[in-house]
Amino acid sequence: MMFTAAMFALAVAMLLVLVRLFAGPTLYDRVLALNSFGTVTVLLIGVVGFMTERPDFLDIALLYALINFVGTIAILKFFRYKDLGQGLPEGEDPASLQNGDSK
């Protein structure tokens, strides 16, 4: 029963995140929405695992959380530098990272 309720809550959460993803309006809304959607997927897999009495799904869910984290970092890093292999561009002040402006 508890897992059923959790499942309904997750469905609603998915819908809300999707609305944010469709509507935008800014880039960061969508990056954050994708990240949240990954988190909801992690929870979904966990709940499905417990509901079908296979708690070992939780390990898989944890791996999803790792992928989600690395993916979000990759997307954000890409937007900052237009390249994944680089550090800060020449002559750029590391402090400019703080205000989060994007080119």
Partner: protein, 188 residues
């Protein structure tokens, strides 16, 4: 309850697909295709194919999102309005979809144990793995022992592809940054 999860996931999948079609902002489309992958991965987990689901999440939501962003950085962020006839594309999509759905009517029911694929060599592996290989996971026994040469060949192919990619990318870096790039290539 499983039916409810399936309906919800498929419903969101359709919503996402429609949104991908409607939106002209390519960044949003890339994010939505990541969500599409995560939803498919969820469906695969519900269908007990956790390994497929994991590949889908890693490749679909992880790598290909970054690759598409990389492509977008070189091109435009807005999709141009289509120049060809939309009705024609829609008709092709409907015909292909109908053909695929027609194809599924010939398939055995989901999870059936008496399909030909489970009658051929499967029982043999299940019977012989504990005696011959002695590992608890039969899939591992098949991949690493019964099909060991095949797996070795696959690993060799992936290794060659990796070397080729490193060589190509290294050749493209500018001389001023080549020391940095060499380090990066090794890390990759």
């Amino acid at each position: 309850m499983e039916a409810f999860i399936d309906i919800v996931l498929f419903g969101f999948l359709i919503l996402t697909a429609i949104a991908i079609m409607r939106l002209r902002n390519l960044f949003a489309v890339v994010m939505l295709s990541g969500v599409f992958s995560l939803l498919s991965a969820g469906l695969f987990v519900v269908m007990d194919a956790v390994d497929v689901a994991f590949t889908e999440a890693a490749v679909g939501a992880g790598i290909s999102t970054v690759l598409m962003l990389g492509t977008m950085a070189m091109t435009s962020r807005e999709e141009k309005p289509p120049v060809h006839n939309r009705l024609f594309s829609f008709a092709i999509a409907v015909v292909v979809g109908a053909a695929l759905i027609y194809g599924t009517t010939d398939m055995p029911p989901f999870g059936a144990a008496d399909t030909p694929v489970h009658q051929h060599v499967g029982p043999d592996y299940i019977e012989r793995t504990p005696k011959e290989i002695g590992v608890p996971n039969i899939v591992t026994a098949v991949l690493a022992s019964y099909r060991g040469f095949d797996t070795l060949g696959e690993v060799a192919v992936i290794f060659t592809a990796g070397i080729a990619v490193i060589v190509l990318l290294h050749g493209r870096t500018r001389p001023a940054r080549s020391a940095d790039a060499r380090k990066k290539g090794k890390d990759a």
